[in-house]
Amino acid sequence: MVRGSRLRQIGWAICIGVVFAGFMLLTFRVNAVKSEVVRAEREIVVLEREKLAMETEFETRANQQQLADWNAIEFGYASPRADQFLETERQLASFSAPRAADSPPPIRFAREMEASDYPALVSPLAEHDNPGDGEPEKVAAPTQGEARIALASFD
């Protein structure tokens, strides 16, 4: 009886000791992490302030008046003229000159066409058939073989 209870006591003591040690270990660990977080936060605050100061310094050095003065004295840039703007790609294409008779052939790059390179074809008939349907029936995109044939026929 006494033996058993002593054993049990020791058992409890060991149990409590282990738990306490674990608890202390965890507390130390938590506190270590906490202080690390605090240190990181402090570092963030310092860096944020530094960032703010540098940003402000940059904004101050590059203020609008300063930029205008530099432009007036050093660069002399003018605002773009109306004819320097392009509205569409077509307008851009209109700048290209037709090929002269003796010009070298244009350089071509080989590339295998993917089926996704072509837009999905929409049958005009499909829309005609179901005028009520909002979604027009899509014709499956051509497979690679078909695409090649289509390309060939265009040439």
Binding site: S5, V38, E41, I44, V45, E48, R49, L52, A53, E55, T56, E57, E59, T60, N63, Q64, Q65, L67, A68, S79, P80, R81, A82, D83, F85, E87
Partner: protein
């Protein structure tokens, strides 16, 4: 455990029982004796802790990251989030004679040497003055707002008495730009501009972490001030004012009043005026000439009169010719600046800025109708804007005589601020809706509904007419190619105690662009421009204010997402045949 004593008691008799009791009592007492000091110790520790709280105060709790990063006053940004006003730690240069702590001289070197070294870093410092201040041995600021590199150089001097404390300062990175809109801060309180208007929001603990965006666009503001300043200097004008207003929302994209002041360093003379300004009774630099000063804006009022007449159905046929000879009314003669022929139609009258025809149109329209239009354009009350500086217009009052109606029709006898004019022009071109101007950023879809002043087709007509003024008339130098600018010049003599002064003018150009789908109104105004070589010795708006707008619009157009396009324009083909080209 509990069964053991009973067993032994039965076995040993009453004596053992008494012994056992004594023994247990002793043990209990011993335990109590041991426990008592333990409790006492805890009580003492607790008392000491309480006492330490009482004597030393509660220990400082470490501030959270958010609290540390929260600025003491909120940031003000432009509509794109770029900073216009912010708080940050700036280095100050503080002379602390007690820093050496050895009781000897506060400086390692002589005051003259240190002053020379400081003057090498800050060229604007007065060497003798600084040397004297260092020798005086009094703690004081030698300079504020040092750049970090300047602070490093001061540190390299190696004087412990020269301290560099970081101080919280309100800082305006753009310097004097938009000073009248922003205002300034003194002792934590905002004055003059949005600093005063947004004071509660900027200091509110819950809100100040988020920047407050205002409607200005920093780049447009910079371009406006730059062009105004150049224009003002080239014609030697006393002051200049300008505003860029979004016609559909009423947002002020740029607002400039020159001369300006630097909110980073507000001097008393900025507020009360320099001696010369006071002697000449001129406003100080902090005076906002866009929202506070009222001017007779002259011919820029003509489009308003014409629009009112078109809207009321008084002018139906734009080809109809009016008598353009001087008008004799109430003993006075109203004439044009130079003869424009015997008759003119309405488009010609606007293109050549005829007082006589506008007066005759106004006469036909009647004073009541013209007054109602002016009233619905808000020209009889202080301008709608958040700023505290809002000027009360001066007008002819409730009952307009015939001559009053005639002179008001071309902008005389009524004085308003340039901002009034901008809001009125916005209503003129945007389809006829008047909206109050605002300096707060308006989110798309939340703009004020406004009130209808002109019919949609009246506004369309005005777009054509204003465009024609810029293509064929007095506004030609404002016609930036591709931007479809339309607008009207105005040059009014300034009134004085002895009638109008012929030589001091206020010249204004009120414009909108692009005229086929107006987005922005631009007003440029010069106060007392002189005739110089830059303006071909002319003082009128066509030679000084209109060129400013002509240079400004190509600069700000692309920033405001208005692309120039030479292939687009307002269709003026129906009005083109109505104008003769022989008058100049």
């Amino acid at each position: 455990m509990a069964s053991i004593p009973i067993d032994s008691m039965v076995a040993a008799g009453p004596l053992r029982v008494a012994n056992k009791r004594l023994e247990s009592l002793l043990v209990a007492r011993m335990r109590a004796l041991l426990l008592m000091p333990a409790f006492g110790l805890i009580a003492v520790v607790a008392l000491l802790r309480i006492a330490s709280f009482g004597v030393l105060g509660a220990p400082d709790t470490p501030m959270s990251m958010e609290q540390r990063l929260l600025p003491p006053r909120g940031e003000i940004t432009d509509r794109n989030g770029l900073p216009l006003a912010r708080n940050y730690d700036a280095f100050a240069l503080w002379f602390n004679p007690a820093a050496m702590k050895d009781g000897g001289s506060p400086l390692v070197h002589t005051p003259a040497e240190v002053a020379a070294k400081l003057a090498a870093i800050f060229p604007e410092l007065d060497r003798a003055d600084v040397a004297e201040r260092l020798a005086s041995g009094k703690a004081q600021y030698l300079r504020r707002r040092l750049l970090p590199e300047e602070a490093n150089k001061v540190f390299e001097i190696g004087e412990p008495a020269l301290e560099l404390p970081a101080e919280k300062e309100r800082f305006y990175p753009q310097g004097s730009m938009a000073a009248h809109v922003l205002g300034y801060v003194k002792d934590g309180k905002g004055y003059l501009g949005m600093e005063a208007v947004l004071d509660d929001r900027l200091t509110d603990e819950r809100l100040r972490g988020q920047p407050s965006a205002i409607s200005l666009d920093l780049r447009v503001q910079g371009a406006l001030e730059d062009e105004l300043r150049k224009g003002m200097l080239s014609v030697n004008a006393r002051g200049a004012a300008g505003v860029v207003l979004d016609v559909d929302t009423g947002e002020v994209v740029a607002l400039a009043s020159l001369p300006a002041f630097d909110p980073n360093d507000v001097k008393p003379t900025d507020l009360i005026g320099t001696e010369e300004q006071r002697r000449l009774k001129q406003p100080s630099n902090s005076f906002n000439s866009v929202t506070y000063q009222v001017y007779e804006l002259g011919s820029t009022f003509k489009p308003i009169t014409i629009a009112s007449a078109i809207d009321a159905g008084v002018v139906r046929d734009l080809g109809l010719r009016y008598d353009a000879k001087p008008v004799k009314v109430a003993g006075r003669t109203l004439a044009d600046s130079h003869s424009l022929g015997d008759t003119l139609n309405v488009p010609e009258a606007l293109i050549h800025s005829s007082n006589t025809v506008t007066a005759r149109v106004a006469d036909k329209l009647g004073g009541d109708k013209l007054r109602d239009t002016m009233r619905s354009l808000g020209l009889d009350e202080r301008p709608y804007i958040e700023l505290p500086a809002r000027g009360q217009p001066l007008g002819p009052g409730e009952h307009w005589s015939r001559i009053t109606t005639m002179t008001v029709s071309y902008g005389h006898g009524i004085a308003v601020t340039p901002l009034h004019l901008a809001s009125a022009y916005a209503a003129l071109v945007n389809g006829g809706i008047w909206r109050p101007a605002t300096l707060l950023k308006v989110e798309p879809g939340t703009e004020v509904k406004g009130r209808r002043v002109f019919k949609e087709d009246t506004s369309a007509r005005m777009r054509q007419l204003l465009r024609m003024v810029a293509v064929y008339g007095t506004g030609r130098s404002a016609d930036a190619p591709g931007y479809r600018v339309g607008g009207k010049t105005g040059s009014a003599e300034k009134p004085s105690a002895h009638g109008y002064r012929k030589k001091s003018l206020v010249s204004t150009f009120a414009a909108a662009f692009p005229m086929d789908d107006p987005r922005y109104v631009v007003i440029a105004m010069l106060d007392e421009p002189q005739g110089t070589t830059a303006s071909s010795y002319q003082r009128t708006a066509a030679w000084n204010a209109a060129p400013i707008v002509g240079k400004l619009i190509p600069r700000i157009g692309p920033m405001l997402d208005v692309r120039p396009d030479l292939s687009r324009d307002v269709d003026i083909s129906d009005l083109r045949p109505l104008i003769r080209s022989d008058i100049e």
